[in-house]
Structures are given as structure tokens and as C-alpha cells.
Amino acid sequence: MRYEKPTTVEAATALLAGQGARVLAGGTDLLVQMRSRVLSPDVLVDIKGIDATRKITKDASGYTIGAAVTGAELKEHPTLSKDWPGLVEAANLIGSTQVQGRCSLGGNLCNGSPAADSVPGMIAAGAVATIAGPKGTRTLPVEDIMLAPRKLALTAGEFIVSFKIPARPAHGGDAYLRFIPRTEMDIAVVGCGVALALDAGGTCTAARVSLGAVAARPLLVEDGAKALIGTKVDDAALAKLEAAVRAACKPIDDKRGTVEFRIDVAGTLAKRTAKIALERARKV
């Protein structure tokens, strides 16, 4: 096995176009899978030598977050947690304190698990990935990247350089909640992200609702958003949201929870998440 640490996007895409190459960011999933012999790549392409993958920049249009920026760095950023607390909280749910020092948004998404915590957080926030490849750079909304477990919409040689997160609306708030059999460092049975914006009168003008761990891929729930937009996010709207979310769920039965349980809890969780997002939107 070869280890490469290119310093330019071009060099990285060239290496990744070869046979058996894998992207290494924090390694918190990849190295574990290699140790347990699930994966044995021929070439490890460490993207952390590329400046753009390791920094957070902010301008009028929002944030650009490098794909290999760690969970701890997201939390330490001076304004990101104020603008997108739900996204940061979702990312900070990945693993333990030690893992937070390594794990990244790009890795969490590209590991291809439907239960990845940061992914519904990014989808709710409206994150768009900047993807570099042999033919140049393209963008793709995060909800369109994971197609099925371990299956991504990236082609040979492509990797995610960064994520674009829009500027927070004037009266905007987001939140992420997950439900797990216990308290931390576990895989979500249901994860839910909600981002919404209010007008000056407190009416919801925009919303995005996302779910993790209840289908083969993280979901953007359009009907959930529709249930909130145009309302004051009152009990009636929340009841509609709950129903829309439950309708969107297509979970599997496994030892962590039955289908019925996951569907039911997803609805409950969506309501609770929306309430937190609403409270945050009202405060700004």
C-alpha cells in the first residue's frame, strides 16, 4: 500500500483516478475498516495537505468549510456555532472527544452510512459540495451525493474539496436531534435536521427538513418543509410535519429498533427538532 499526501487538487485527482485509491481525511472510519480488513486500498490519498480542505472561510454568501476540517475545529470557529448551531451539533455527535479531533464532514458523508450524523445537519442547512475531478470542478447538493449505503455519486478521481453553507437568514435557525439506544458514541436509530427562516411577523418563509438512518440514504423531506412554510410553526403545522416525516421513512428492521418504532420516533423527533429550530430563529 502506498501513502500519498498531495498539496494540490490536481495532484490529488490524478492519484485518485488510479486503481484502488481511497481518500484519507481524518481516517476515523477508513483506518478502522482497514484494520478490520474490510478495506485494503492500494493507494491512500491524504487530502489534508491541500489547503482548501483544511480551512473555514466566511463571506457575505456564507461559509466554505474544507472537507477535512475536524469536528473540534467546527466547534471552535468563532461564528459558525452561532449561525448554524444544528450543523455543528450534528458534526459534534460523531464519536468521542478523541474522534472529534480527527473526524470531518467530508469523511462522514463519503463513508456512505445512512446513519451519519452530520449529513442530515448539512442537508437541512442547504450545504452544497464542491467536487474536484479530472475534468474540473462541479457542485452538488449534499442530499444528492449519497445514493445507497457505501454508494456515492462521485466518479473515478473525484473527491469533495469543501462544502458551501449559505449565510444564515435574518431570522433563521437550525437544529439536529438524533435518537439512539443510549447516550453518545452510538449509531443513530433516527436522526433529524430542521432549518427554517421566519419573516418579521414570525411566519415561516423557508424550511428544510432532513432525516438520517430511516432509509437507505439520508433524506431531504420536501413535504416536511411544506408543512412548515407559511405557518407560525404552531401545533397544527407540527402535526403535519410529524405526519410528513413518518410518511417519508423507509427504515429497515434491525436489532436497534423495529420499523414501526423508527417511523414513530422519527415523527416525534422532527417535532422536537423543529421546536428548537423555531426558538433559535426567534432569538435572532
Binding site: F179, P181, R182, T183, E184, M185, I187, V189, K255, R256, G257, T258, E260, F261, D264, V265, T268, L269
Partner: protein, 771 residues
């Protein structure tokens, strides 16, 4: 016991927490070779053939060995020794565990091939080259299918899969009591299968020493138990086997016997002339550590109209896995606890060991005690619910009073002392039971369900009941100013080193840093209990107290010689031997110097202690929980224990034991469970991804109060504490969950009470109500 030396924390912690522990994996020896075992991927299969040619040719490989090689070297299976009858009345089939499977595998994870190489990685890589041709057989995945007619047999010699049967008590007497009872309640429940998850995985390093002796450094809790087994297998005298246990990072009963890997490293060391080490990977631990509990309970309690208990009948089916040994009988030895702290006129019980294609089960912290307590304490709650009597009051009505001591339960145990009502009133006060209904109402306002569960555990300690095991210890006082203590019991992380060192320091009047603590070396003592059965303090500590007496008596003799007086006139205090009524004195270490000059042995003394009977730690647990009915999420909001462990020797360490015990019991009640696939008997919870291990967040602060009712069984008055927390916490926690759910008409929930299971119970109850 008065504390004359200020306690400054655990002596061993700095060493253990800074990576300076001496675990098996830490040993560095020249020419050390590394072992890896190829394990069965089938739960039940015939082995047609094994092709090791490619593995033998792999880089760094020193040996690839199979069951046929073991047989050629004359090494047999691990012993069984169970004399109980099977269901047909004949003696139990000696279903011995092979060191390497020969013609048949019986569980996923069974050792089939041993590979020894220059490195672990080389051994593991060679393992992938071994070709085993299996012929899969139908698996017996669990107890229920094992007992079904036409079930496949784990052992051809035992077609009904019932390994042993055991009965006690008169069924007719119980039937009569039940016929005349106003109420009979029944509990059918499963105490789940769990695994110990010791922080230090199993491991062993075998070598042949210069005298040709078999020496094994092992992560074990019972060096003296392991020695005869290994000596037997290698057909040598016990003096030709030396077991060394250094620091051990958790055992919980799981490390109480010799395992196949222990035999393998010694055998390989003998064949290769090199030391050989095996260390378990965590995934191997899940598969191949002996599992715990897995007991199916069917029990009935008969009561009169006032709630007085008339009789108890319990049937216990234990999933013993696929092999049988004395370790498979844990439910029998400790079953006496089903009598609880109550007057029960008639008790009848039976235990059956059931073979399945799962890993063998063995004692696990409590070892039958938590199961017994769970049975009686759940039954009392079910009865209280049915009779609409407060569960606390129903317990009070049936308690054995202190005036009845010693109390013969009529079912094995005879309690020597105990003040059970005092435990309950103390717990009620500490848990603010009086304020519970107000807290329940406050939770309800927030849409939450709150519950309070009570359990009164009592457990046998320092056993076995029939004949308590003996412990040994020895002390050497050296002229260099140190005192060395060898103990037959041993620390597996719980702080015995500290407890014992303080005992010695206080009694001999030396500072604690002058005490050297040595454990786990079979060369140093005639025997020892190791760790288990809550006996380290009550038996091992009491043994050290005797050895200290003997040390002082010996010192008085030597001092008498030095001071030209009679031993009877010599007094010992504060590290000095003094001639009574004079100022003539010699120090402990001057006595040692004198003795060392006079004879080769120097100033040494030994002691042994076999308790005349067992002790009975007891207590009252109160668990308070809150449930979110929309998600089934459960939070333990309070946990209170009043525990009578007799005289408390070291309050900090005793509390630590209770904390850990509660954590282990609560975790089993709310989350831990080994699950085998119902078809293939593959372990589907074989990693920490899938197996719930509790974390700090899962537990509340635990309020502990000790109530000291000293036992007269040993000189310290200590009853034992290692299992106390676990024995009560299964029942207290499940009782709390059931109490919280009782407004919905739910009377019982099986462990583990996971969110999904609680949510499902609530859904079912709502549907039933709607229908």
C-alpha cells in the same frame, strides 16, 4: 476497625493509570513467539478436513497445529467433573471442552487451529490461509428450540439437550400451600445473556523454565484453580506447573477457569522451546470469553389474603452453551437467595442445564444470586400489584426479623445475622420515598412516566455454602525496613492491594509505603482462593489478620530472645516489641535483623483461614426512573442503596465496589444483551457497535449508605461486597420500569428494557385499551 493511618487513595492507581501495570501483554521476553487461533465460523458443523500446508509455508510461521497434533501429544480435553444426573437419571454426559476442536465444532468462535509465528500479524495472516472443510449441521440456537421435540442434539449422547437436572424441596407441600392461597402470582422471564467485557482481554504467555517446568503468565482470577487443570492435562505433578497472574484488568467470574488458549500457549512453548503468547482481540472476546447468566425463570409465589407469603416454586433453565463443567452449575450453588429476606414456609426449586450451540456460560458477577433475587423480588412486586398493596409494605410484612437470627430459610441457607427492616427504612429515607408521589406528579406534568423500584438482595459470600474455600497468606518482615505480604486472594482491579496493605500497615505500625503486596504466584503459597464469591475481604482479609497475629506472635518470641525475657511478657504496639513495665524495646525491623542473623528463614509467618460458614451481605436498593413515553427513552434519575456488608474495612473501596456492581446490573437491565441469530446461531452483537456497554452518562450518582451489622464468621466482621451492587440492581431497575409503566396496565417488561421495547409495550397497551 479504627483507621489509624490516613487513607490517601489507591496505591495501585498511579501504576495502572500511567501504563506501568504488569499485564500479560506488557511482558517482554527474548525469542517471544505469538499465537493466533483460527476459530470456527459455524455454530455447529462437522470438520471434514483441515489443510494447513499454505499456512505452514507463510512468512514467519513457526507452527500450525490442529486437534490431531494435540491428540498425538496425548493432551486431552478440559475436564468436566459434573456428577449430577441428566433427565434419564444417568450421570451427566461428560461434555468436555476440547482445546482444539477435532471432528466437530459446537459454537462460533471455537478454536480449531493454532498458529504460532514470529509476529501477531504473521500468525493472523497465516490464519487466512488455513482451509477448513466444514459440513454444516442444524444449530440449536437457543433454549426454547433446544427443548422442542425433534430438535437437533448438541451432543449425540444427550438427545433432549438437557445436560443436568437438579431439584430441591417438596413439590406436594408447595401445591398444598398454593391450593389454600388467596393469591398465586407467576413470573415467566428471561435473565439475558451477557458478556463480561473486561477492560483487559484474556491473554496468556506460556514458557518452559530452566527446570523444565510449565510456567504461564495468565490473565486469570484463580491461579490456584488453574494449576491442577493444567497439571492434569500435561500429566505432570502440580509442583511442575507455575501460574503467575500479574495485574489483572477485570475478571467478573469470566476468568475463573483454564481456557483452551491457556493450554495452547504452554503446549506450543513446549514444542517450540520458545515462550509463546496469545492475547485476545476484542472481537474474539465477545465470541470466546465464557458468557454469563442466560437463565429462563418460571416461578410462582403463593400468598394469603393479608399478603403473607405461603410458598415459592421456581424453575430455572440455564443456557449453559455447548460444554459442561463445574462452572456450568452457578445457578445451583447460589440459588438459596430466592428465599430473599423473607419468611417463606415452603420453597421448591429446580434447575436444568440446557445445551445450545452457543459459547459455554460460567459464573458472572453474582453468578445465580442476581437471578435468584430477581425472581423473588419481581414476584413480590407482581403480587403487590395484583393485591393492590404497596410493594414496600408487602415486603415489610414478610421480613425475617433480627430476633429470628440465626434464621434457617428452609432452602439451603442459614442467615447468621441481618437487620432487613433497618435496610428498608434507611433506603426509604435516603431515597426520599415519601416525596416520590410528588415527583411522579411533577414528571407527569412534563409528559413523563416516573417509577420507583425496590429490591432487597441477600447473597451468599465467602462460599461455597457446603464448605467454604480456604485461603492462605504469608508475611516477611525484612531488616531493610519493608514488610512483604503474599495473599491467596487477588486483586483484579478492585483495590485489594490497597485494602490489604493498609491492614498490614495499621496492625504492624509501619507506614503503608513500606508494605509490598504480592499476589497470584502459585510458588509462594500452599493455595489461595483467587478472586470470586465476594470473599477477598471476608476470607482473604481475615486470613491476613490471622497471619498478622502469627507474625506478631513470632516477633514476640524473637524479641523475648533479644530482651532476655519470656514471650508472654512482651507487648507489641506501634511497631515496637516492649518488655512489659519497662522501657526496653526493639523495633519490628530490629527483630527482623536479629532473625535473619539467627536463621535462614528470617522473620516470616504464615496463616490460613477456612471460614466456619459463609456470610450474607444484604441490603435494600431503590431505583427511580423516568420514561419518555413518545420515544421509550429511559433515564435513571436516582439510585439509592443501603447495604449491610458487615464491618467496612475501607469505605472508599467498598463504595467503589457497590458503584461498579450497580453499573453492571443496571446495564443488563436496560441494555446489555448477547443476541444469537435464531437460525444460524451466529452472534449478532459481537462488537461494541452492537453490544451496549454502560457509560458514565447512563448512570446517575449513586447514593450509598452502609449499615454495619458485623458477622461473627470472621475476625474482621466483614461480609463481602464484590457482588452486592449487582445482585439487587437487576430487580430494582426492572421493578422501577414496571412501576413507571403500571398506569398503562403494563405489569411486566423483559430485560433489557431498551427504548424500542418500552415503546412497543406502551404501543401494545394503548392498542389493547383502544380495542
Amino acid at each position: 476497625m479504627t483507621e489509624t493511618i490516613a487513607y490517601t487513595g489507591r496505591i495501585e492507581d498511579e501504576r495502572l493509570a500511567t501504563g506501568r501495570g504488569r499485564y500479560v501483554a506488557d511482558l517482554r521476553l527474548p525469542r517471544l513467539a505469538h499465537a493466533f487461533t483460527v476459530r470456527s465460523v459455524y455454530s455447529h458443523a462437522k470438520i471434514r478436513s483441515i489443510d494447513t500446508a499454505a499456512a505452514k509455508a507463510a512468512p514467519g510461521v513457526l507452527a500450525v497445529l490442529t486437534g490431531a497434533d494435540l491428540a498425538a501429544d496425548g493432551i486431552g480435553d478440559l475436564p468436566c467433573g459434573v456428577e449430577l444426573p441428566k433427565s434419564d437419571g444417568q450421570k451427566a454426559h461428560q461434555a468436555k471442552r476440547p482445546v482444539l476442536a477435532r471432528d466437530r465444532v459446537r459454537f462460533v468462535g471455537e478454536c480449531v487451529v493454532l498458529i504460532v509465528a514470529e509476529s501477531v500479524e504473521q500468525a493472523e495472516a497465516a490464519g487466512e490461509l488455513v482451509e477448513i472443510d466444514y459440513e454444516p449441521l442444524d444449530a440449536v440456537a437457543d433454549v426454547e428450540p433446544a427443548l422442542a421435540s425433534g430438535a437437533p442434539a448438541v451432543w449425540d449422547e444427550v438427545p433432549d439437550n438437557i445436560a443436568y437436572v437438579w431439584k430441591k424441596g417438596d413439590n406436594d407441600t408447595f401445591e398444598k400451600a398454593a391450593a389454600g392461597a388467596a393469591h398465586v402470582v407467576r413470573l415467566t422471564s428471561h435473565v439475558s445473556r451477557v458478556t463480561a467485557c473486561s477492560m483487559e482481554p484474556r491473554g496468556a504467555l506460556g514458557l518452559i523454565d530452566d527446570e523444565g517446568r510449565y510456567v504461564i503468565h495468565a490473565s486469570t482470577q484463580g491461579p490456584f484453580n488453574m494449576r491442577p487443570t493444567l497439571a492434569g492435562l500435561f500429566k505432570v505433578d502440580q509442583s511442575k506447573v507455575r501460574i503467575l497472574a500479574g495485574d489483572v484488568g477485570g475478571s467478573f467470574g469470566m476468568k475463573s477457569g483454564a481456557y483452551p488458549e491457556d493450554v495452547l500457549v504452554l503446549w506450543a512453548a513446549k514444542r517450540l522451546g520458545r515462550p509463546v503468547r496469545w492475547i485476545s482481540e476484542r472481537r474474539e472476546s465477545f465470541l470466546s470469553d465464557d458468557h454469563g447468566r442466560d437463565v429462563h425463570i418460571d416461578a410462582e409465589l403463593a400468598l394469603d389474603k393479608d399478603g403473607k407469603i405461603l410458598g415459592l416454586r421456581g424453575k430455572f433453565d440455564v443456557n449453559i452453551g455447548c460444554y459442561l463443567s463445574g462452572r456450568s452449575l452457578f445457578m445451583i450453588g447460589n440459588l438459596g437467595g430466592i428465599a430473599g429476606v423473607y419468611r417463606i414456609p415452603t420453597i421448591v426449586a429446580s434447575v436444568r442445564g440446557i445445551f445450545t450451540n452457543q459459547q459455554t456460560s460460567a459464573p458472572y458477577r453474582g453468578a445465580g444470586r442476581p437471578e435468584a433475587t430477581y425472581a423473588i423480588e419481581r414476584l413480590i412486586d407482581l403480587a403487590a400489584r395484583k393485591m393492590k398493596i404497596d410493594p414496600y409494605q408487602l415486603r415489610l410484612r414478610n421480613l425475617v426479623p433480627p430476633t429470628a437470627m440465626p434464621y434457617d430459610t428452609g432452602f439451603t441457607f442459614v442467615y447468621d445475622c441481618g437487620e432487613f427492616e433497618g435496610n428498608m427504612t434507611g433506603a426509604a429515607e435516603l431515597a426520599d420515598q415519601a416525596g416520590f408521589e410528588a415527583r411522579r406528579a411533577e414528571s407527569a406534568k412534563r409528559g413523563k412516566l416516573r417509577g420507583l423500584g425496590i429490591a432487597n438482595p441477600i447473597e451468599v459470600a465467602g462460599g461455597p455454602f457446603a464448605k467454604p474455600g480456604k485461603d492462605y497468606s504469608s508475611i516477611r518482615v525484612s531488616s531493610d525496613g519493608t514488610v512483604t505480604l503474599n495473599t491467596g486472594v487477588m486483586s483484579v482491579g478492585q483495590g485489594i492491594e490497597t485494602m490489604m496493605s493498609y491492614l498490614v500497615a495499621e496492625r504492624l505500625g509501619v507506614s503503608v509505603d513500606k508494605v509490598r503486596y504480592v499476589q497470584g504466584d502459585t510458588d509462594l503459597l500452599p493455595g489461595g482462593r483467587g478472586n470470586g464469591g465476594s470473599s477477598s475481604t471476608g476470607v482473604g482479609g481475615a486470613c491476613v489478620a490471622i497471619t498478622l497475629d502469627n507474625t506478631i506472635a513470632k516477633g514476640r518470641e524473637i524479641a523475648a530472645d533479644m530482651l532476655e525475657a519470656k514471650p508472654d511478657d512482651i507487648e507489641f504496639a506501634d511497631g515496637h516489641f516492649r518488655l512489659g513495665g519497662t522501657n526496653r524495646a526493639v523495633t519490628l525491623f530490629e527483630v527482623a535483623e536479629h532473625a535473619e542473623k539467627a536463621n535462614d528463614d528470617g522473620f516470616t509467618a504464615a496463616g490460613e483461614f477456612q471460614p466456619p460458614s459463609v456470610t450474607y451481605p444484604n441490603g435494600c436498593h431503590m431505583c427511580e426512573i423516568e420514561i419518555d413515553p413518545d420515544t421509550g427513552a429511559l433515564e435513571i434519575v436516582r439510585y439509592t442503596i443501603v447495604e449491610d456488608i458487615g464491618t467496612v474495612i475501607n469505605p472508599t473501596l467498598a463504595r467503589g465496589q457497590i458503584h461498579g456492581g450497580v453499573a453492571q446490573g443496571v446495564a443488563q437491565a436496560i441494555g446489555e444483551k448477547l443476541i444469537y441469530d435464531a437460525e444460524s446461531a451466529q452472534l449478532s452483537t459481537g462488537s461494541f457497535m452492537d453490544y451496549m456497554i454502560p457509560r458514565a452518562h447512563d448512570l446517575p450518582n449513586i447514593n450509598i449508605r452502609t449499615r454495619e451489622v458485623p458477622t461473627k464468621v470472621n475476625s474482621l466482621g466483614a461480609k463481602g461486597v464484590g457482588e452486592a451492587g449487582t445482585v439487587g440492581s437487576l430487580a430494582a431497575t426492572i421493578n422501577a420500569v414496571c412501576d413507571a409503566l403500571s398506569p398503562l396496565g403494563i405489569t411486566h417488561i423483559e430485560m433489557p428494557a431498551t427504548p424500542a421495547r418500552i415503546w412497543q409495550a406502551i404501543e401494545n397497551a394503548r392498542e389493547a385499551k383502544a380495542a
